[in-house]
Symmetry: C2
């Protein structure tokens, strides 16, 4: 039973009390009329939860946001695309702080109530003159969720946004809205994954943070295009309580309903990122069962998903299960070759570590589909993990050669 | 001062007492006149040292050789290309044992005195009828090092072999001969790295094993094409003592001279593999200095070398140092962004984690060369590590789509 339903055309501005604007500042390209700056604002006190990249090299705005998340009343978000403000040293930090200050001044906030994100090229100073010139336009708030979604895109080919109405099960309901960008962790612009989620739910900080952390773990952290990890990856959830629901507490039935919606929201956006992955042609749902631990299952799944060898197999639509075996073998997890089973969709490819005897034609029927499942059973335990990934093809490489 | 010099046209059969033969059995392709089986033999007692893949999924011949290396008098080696005899279960083990038995019977040896290797497609039963039919031809021994070298090639475009005369510094000399195959760890045939080295040196088992392990660590284990690791990788060194030198003992000046030659032999063959890597266009020597430990240095070097993002940069000949920073950041090693320096050849790209201010044109002069150095200084300690690697390009992917 679905406890939530989509709101047609909705997005980040759909929950009560959230508005946003966008501007073309020429950060993506001087003189280009492409939206590249957005400001999101709610005049109401919020509860916020955020997760950041685990890359040791962090962009300047990530450092600033980590500081600002020490407090707990984020009212505004400013995001630019076209420049990642990463590997930019002290000047980069000053620029990120100035972005917060500009926004704070505009809305009468403290700078630490502003969340700052950047995505784009790395190692190049922020063109702050152009950003300043476009700021006032970006800060003209409205209800349309599309312009802000367009303003955070880099190599994305489609805007990714969604809103839903969530029935909490106690007769009350809240709205969740979201926008995300990212199309593979790799691109000429160091494509970052950014996701902004708004909700008018009333929810405790502990509950929101716990649910956010868990949902990110099973959605955004389970997608992989080529194994690289950006310096800027950020997920932010802002809740302003305007729905007037009874405050959602941890471990309550309402928290469970809210989690299911939040998880579905993030999973659908994560899958949309994979489907829009740079020049990829296939979408693969890869599950490892029978592992000794969930960590082992995830480690094996990542090794297979990121193997260039396996990715070429997917691109060719071929059922070369031996390539899967070899990637399982070097994952660094204790496995027993003779216990491994591999299936393409529901077609057995490998049993007890050797060919299952299925005809190549039958296996190809599964692997030649644009979307298919690869299922591995390690035969060792009860734990499992699923990741979502893509193939690798010549266009992907060519695309990455663009300057 | 070089203590060794090359023997023109020499190879695996150059050291005293080693002979080899080769045959076209149709294992690579039925009816094709391509050499795909070779037998190497010495009638003299040997000292042997071997290293094997650390992949948990091991080919049948790797299991058999690990058993046979328990003894210490390997007299013959049989190698086929075209079929890896991997993921072939009990039948694969039986086939590998039969290859050893055939060779043992031919030369009046015990099966455990025979070393068995296979390289080629994975998961397909060995065509033992064709191998048996070609065996007698392969066992016709001769002095030419080229046919055996050709017989172990899969996707290699050039045979890789070499021999050298080694002055031990005590007025005595020995010969070392070698052949290797491998052209990237990835290919339609699951390209394995195989290396066979013969020497007529008299050397103790402990000394040979110690020097072999060390030399492999700094040569074959320091090359990477795309991060995948084969199920069959094997290095074997066989010493038969016919040079009549005083037996080389561990920690002696002669052991040092022998090591220098062995290291140079392996490094040159490892570099030849990288230069022949599937469809690669650039050769990169990547050194990480200033690490807290050699392991940290190696971990960072591997992360950068295997980043698809960085490989695309190399292919394009571009100095996108930000991509290097981001790969350093996710290597899983404690680094301090503001202490990192990056150089392309001797051109500074990054200082204190930010742009060094060198013009892109100057950096491109380095990165646009077919061969160049990438040097990273973490600024944390005294340890360093060097790896050798290649770019990634559209031909590489296309090549891997061939059936």
């Amino acid at each position: 039973m679905a406890t939530f339903q989509d709101i047609e055309g909705g997005g980040i501005t759909t929950p009560l009390g959230f508005q946003a604007g966008a501007a073309a500042c020429g950060i993506k390209k001087v003189g280009a009329e492409k939206l590249d700056l957005t400001v999101l604002y709610t005049p109401h006190e919020t509860t916020a939860a955020a997760t950041f990249t685990s890359n040791r090299v962090k962009a300047a705005p990530v450092h600033v946001c980590e500081e600002h998340m020490q407090g707990n009343d984020i009212r505004a978000v400013i995001v630019n695309s076209g420049n990642a403000n990463a590997c930019t040293g002290e000047q980069g930090l000053a620029d990120a702080r100035e972005m917060a200050a500009l926004t704070a001044t505009k809305f009468g906030l403290k700078p630490e109530q502003v969340f700052v994100c950047s995505t784009g090229v790395i190692g190049t100073p922020m063109p702050m003159d152009r950003l300043r010139a476009g700021f006032e336009t970006a800060a003209k708030l409205g209800e349309d969720p599309l312009p802000p979604t367009l303003a955070i895109m880099t190599s994305d080919t489609v805007p990714k946004y969604r809103a839903m109405d969530v029935a909490l099960g106690n007769g009350q309901s809240v709205k969740i809205g979201a926008m995300t960008k990212g199309a593979g962790m790799i691109c000429p612009n160091m494509a970052t994954m950014l996701c902004f989620i708004t909700t008018d739910a009333a929810i405790t900080p502990d509950c929101l943070r716990g649910l956010t952390k868990r949902a990110v773990k099973y959605t955004f952290n389970r997608i992989t295009v080529e194994g690289d990890m950006s310096t800027n990856d950020t997920v932010l959830v802002l809740a302003n309580g305007l729905a007037g629901n009874t405050v959602i507490e941890s471990d309550s039935p309402e928290a469970k309903a809210f989690y299911e919606a939040l998880h579905d929201m993030m999973l659908s956006l994560a899958k949309a990122m994979i489907r829009d992955a740079e020049k990829a042609t296939r979408f693969i749902e890869l599950t490892v069962h029978g592992a000794a631990s969930e960590e082992d299952a995830h480690t094996v799944a990542k090794a297979v998903a990121n193997s260039v060898l396996v990715k070429c197999m997917w691109n060719a639509g071929q059922p070369y299960w031996g390539r899967v075996m070899h990637a399982i073998g070097y994952a660094g997890v204790d496995v027993e070759e003779s216990k491994i089973s591999i299936d393409f969709n529901d077609v057995p490819a490998t049993r007890q570590g050797i060919a299952a005897g299925t005809s190549v034609a039958m296996m190809r029927e599964a692997t030649d589909a644009d979307e298919h499942r690869l299922t591995i059973d390690l035969g060792l335990g009860e734990a499992s993990a699923t990741v979502y990934t893509t193939d690798l093809n010549e266009n992907f490489v060519e695309f990455n050669l663009l300057d």
